[in-house]
């Protein structure tokens, strides 16, 4: 009972403490130079520091366990560098140990810090393996974290940047800045130094803020491979320029072009007089519907919303502005009848696993299943950068995230769910094979062939 109360109070505190996403870069200064309300005796300070240290260690441990469970990128990074990356990861806490005592010694106890450490204790036991985003005061971030990455980390922790592709784009742009300002220290080479000493701390910080999404994992894996392939003898400027260009190409091809192609392909699947049912609001679905309307198609849309998110309402407004008839349902009630009249169920995805199952906003699986039961065509829109070719997921409790706003027994919520591929009629990606509407399995095979020669 006590933990529950604690838990209930925590999100509020966290919200207060988290720097506003708008100007996160100024936040650390404020936090460091800011309030120092109470004077403590040296003994008290010492005791406090000790307690905090212990708590922090526990926290780091827990986080790591959680991250390992859900996190693609680290493992991949480790693979890229043989055993080295792994060793580095293990060394990381030791490094931070060196800094932090002095920091907390300098800094007065941060109200709520204690609770912040205990946050995960509020999570019901049966979901304790599922990771959760965490707001880390920028003051506590590793000193090596680049300011641009700090900003992105905060934005992700606060869900100001939310969906996988936005997160991917923000991450890549931030890393671009990291690389831009990078200079290989004397006696090191870029291909050996950049990843473990500069990139990894950034990535770890981002992961601590919020478990990495699969798109980020994929892109970072590819980026690391790219860096590894840099010839030791290449001039550093050229190598950097090469990397920056590579990032630009990735954003252009895997995000911008992908969006354009997917929207165009999926819009082609919509026929005059169709009723399209969708769930919540997904960028690709929105683009597709607007595109279809643009090309002069007359159709109607049923939006089934998540009452705890209400993204669908935003989509409804956007579609109404484009003069598309919309039936809006605030929840999953009466879904049976709504799918029965829908010709197509159009859903967006966060990731697709090697076994073809879909990771998407919580509720997507319910809608897809209902759609399939009613023999509506269930079409998934997803950029290939979100495809994970190595992991499989058979239920929603394998790869998921807890809503940091609702993580206690009083109110608990998972952010994603897992849609088995048997509920999916087809997947539209930017690969235009087979009319753009091919099952996930085929795309995975295609990716395997295409991706490596393409990037490496």
């Amino acid at each position: 009972m006590t933990t529950e109360t604690n838990g209930a109070a925590a999100p509020k505190d966290a919200a207060k403490n988290a720097p506003a996403p708008a100007n996160p870069s100024t936040a650390p200064v404020a936090a460091a130079a800011g309030t120092n309300p109470e004077k403590l005796t040296p003994a008290q300070l010492k005791a406090k520091a000790k307690a905090e240290k212990a708590a922090r260690r526990a926290q780091v441990k827990e986080n790591r366990a959680a991250v390992v469970a859900a996190e693609p990128a680290k493992k991949e990074g480790a693979d890229g560098k043989g055993g080295k990356g792994k060793g580095k990861q293990d060394g990381q806490p030791g490094q931070s140990k060196g800094h932090r005592p002095s920091m907390s010694g300098r800094r007065p106890s941060f109200p709520g810090t204690e609770k912040e450490k205990d946050v995960r204790r509020g999570i019901p036991q049966c979901f304790s393996h599922v990771p959760m985003a965490k707001r880390i005061p920028t003051s506590e971030a590793h000193k090596d974290v680049h300011p641009a990455v700090l900003v992105v980390g905060q934005q992700m922790a606060t869900f100001a940047i939310k969906d996988s592709i936005s997160r991917l784009e923000a991450t890549m742009l931030a890393l671009r800045k990291v690389i831009e300002s990078y200079e290989t220290p004397e006696g090191n080479s870029l291909s050996r130094h950049l990843v473990p000493h500069v990139l990894n701390p950034q990535i770890e910080y981002l992961t601590e803020c919020r478990p990495m999404c699969f798109a980020m994992g994929n892109a970072i894996r590819l980026l690391k491979a790219k860096i590894n392939s840099v010839d030791i003898n290449d001039p550093e400027d050229e190598a950097k320029e090469d990397l920056l260009e590579w990032i630009d190409t990735l954003i252009k091809e895997r995000i911008n072009l992908a969006h354009f192609v997917i929207a165009r392909t999926a819009a082609d699947l919509i026929n005059k007089g169709d009723n399209i049912l969708t769930y919540g609001r997904h960028r690709l679905v929105e683009k597709t519907l607007l595109k279809a309307k643009e090309t002069g198609k007359e159709f109607s849309v049923t939006i089934v919303d998540d009452p705890y998110d209400r993204g669908g309402l935003v989509l409804a407004k956007s579609l109404r502005r484009a003069d598309i008839p919309v039936l809006y349902s605030p929840n999953l009630g009466g879904l049976q009848l709504k799918v029965a009249t829908a010709t197509n169920v159009l859903l967006g995805g966060e990731a697709i696993f090697a076994n073809g199952s879909l990771n998407a906003a919580s509720g997507t699986a319910d809608v897809a299943m209902a759609g399939r039961k009613a023999s509506a065509k269930v079409t998934i829109l997803c950029e290939t950068i979100n495809f994970d070719r190595e992991r499989v997921s058979v239920d929603s409790l394998t790869y998921n995230e807890i809503d940091p706003e609702r993580y206690t027994a009083d109110s608990f919520r998972l952010l994603f769910d897992n849609t088995q591929d048997k509920y999916i009629t087809g997947v539209v990606t930017e690969f235009e094979s087979g009319g753009g509407n091919s099952p996930a399995q085929a795309i995975l095979a295609l990716l395997r062939r295409q991706e490596d020669p393409l990037i490496a």
Partner: protein, 361 residues
């Protein structure tokens, strides 16, 4: 896909002159012994609307009339032997069995002095008649029973209309007159605008039904049987699949024309709109038989080709001419595929059929 119980025309059998079997005649010509089979067939011939079950009952009543004075037990014995003859005469004896059984049980009940009604409801207030009264009652009311049986279809139409929804499509097959009655009645309802998809199986009964529905102004689309799965999967407005039956067996399964089981199976298993499979049939088609083992149809006493002609040639020495003609062949549909029965006594779930017959043991 014949799913009703219109009797096959009495084929090569000698048909007695019509006036002989008309309603006024309850006596055979004294010179000839009573021939139950001939009586039954001529009854069927004389009235195109009569069901096989009812014809069997009427024939047995005629038998009673032709068996003037006898003790109760003698009469029951006589009914039994003649019933057996009648059953043996038909390649599909199930509808006859349903009617004849009900008749026999009714006689037996009065013999035992039991009430003939059971279950809940004030209908159980019916008087208990003596055996002689019962006999008189049966003889005098023969016409009434036939009339009630026809009336039952009207009642089924009333119950069934409820299942026909506005702006929806009914999928049907088999040319059942009961189903046609339901659809025609629903068509009279101003508030219901519905359409019908009819599986055209080449059977004249289906063609008749389609014509009748169209003449009544209903929009009827016909499809070939191999289009059923496609239509069920893609036509979202189908919410009711409705068929008739030749007989209902005790476990809630039905015996009806070929194609019914396939239709029921596809209705249940093809994903698509919410739709239900209903059987419209009079309760006098309930036969006290429960098929439990293969081959189910032979167990039920039905003589038709076993699966394919190959088997027929190799294994079955039976005379082909004694088998059901191919167009009249029937099949068994599992109760698990049936959502319910529309009977003149209301809507029944498959589980209720057992209870219903159980009461008259």
């Amino acid at each position: 896909m014949a799913t009703d119980d219109i009797a096959p025309p009495a084929q090569d059998l000698p048909v007695r002159p019509k006036e002989n079997t008309s309603s006024s005649t309850t006596q055979n010509e004294p010179s000839k012994p009573f021939d139950i089979v001939a009586t039954y067939r001529s009854l069927l011939q004389s009235d195109p609307e009569i069901t096989m079950s009812i014809a069997a009952i009427e024939a047995l009543i005629e038998l009673m009339g032709a068996t003037p004075s006898s003790t109760a037990m003698e009469l029951v014995e006589k009914v039994r032997t003649e019933k057996a003859k009648l059953l043996a005469s038909a390649p599909n004896p199930l509808p006859i069995l349903a009617g004849a059984d009900a008749f026999e049980q009714y006689l037996l009940r009065s013999l035992r002095g039991q009430s003939t009604a059971f279950g809940s409801g004030s209908a159980s207030q019916q008087p208990v008649l003596s055996f002689d009264d019962t006999r008189q009652h049966l003889l005098q009311n023969r016409e009434l029973f036939a009339h009630r049986a026809k009336e039952a279809r009207e009642k089924i139409a009333i119950w069934g209309t409820r299942y026909v929804s506005d702006n929806k499509i009914v999928l049907t097959a088999g040319g059942s007159r009961t189903v046609t009655k339901i659809l025609l009645r629903a068509a009279q309802d101003e508030s219901k605008h519905f359409k019908v998809i009819y599986v055209q199986d080449g059977n004249p009964r289906s063609d008749n039904a389609i014509r009748e529905l169209r003449e009544a102004g209903l929009e009827v689309e016909t499809i070939v049987p191999n289009k059923v799965a496609f239509v069920l999967g893609n036509q979202k407005y189908i919410n009711l699949v409705l068929v008739g039956a030749e007989a209902i067996v005790q476990n809630g399964g039905i015996v009806s024309g070929m194609g019914t089981a396939q239709l029921a199976f596809l209705t249940r298993h093809v994903d698509g709109s919410m739709k239900r499979f209903y059987v419209a049939a009079e309760t006098h088609k309930i036969a006290r038989k429960t098929p439990v083992a293969d081959p189910i149809l032979r167990q039920l006493g039905i003589r038709q080709k076993e699966i394919s002609r190959f088997e027929q040639v190799a294994v079955d020495p039976e005379n082909i001419s004694e088998l059901l003609p191919e167009k009249d062949e029937v099949e068994y549909t599992e109760p698990s595929l049936i959502d319910g029965f529309i009977t003149e006594q209301g809507i029944m779930m498959t589980s209720q059929i057992w209870e219903f017959t159980d009461g008259y043991l």
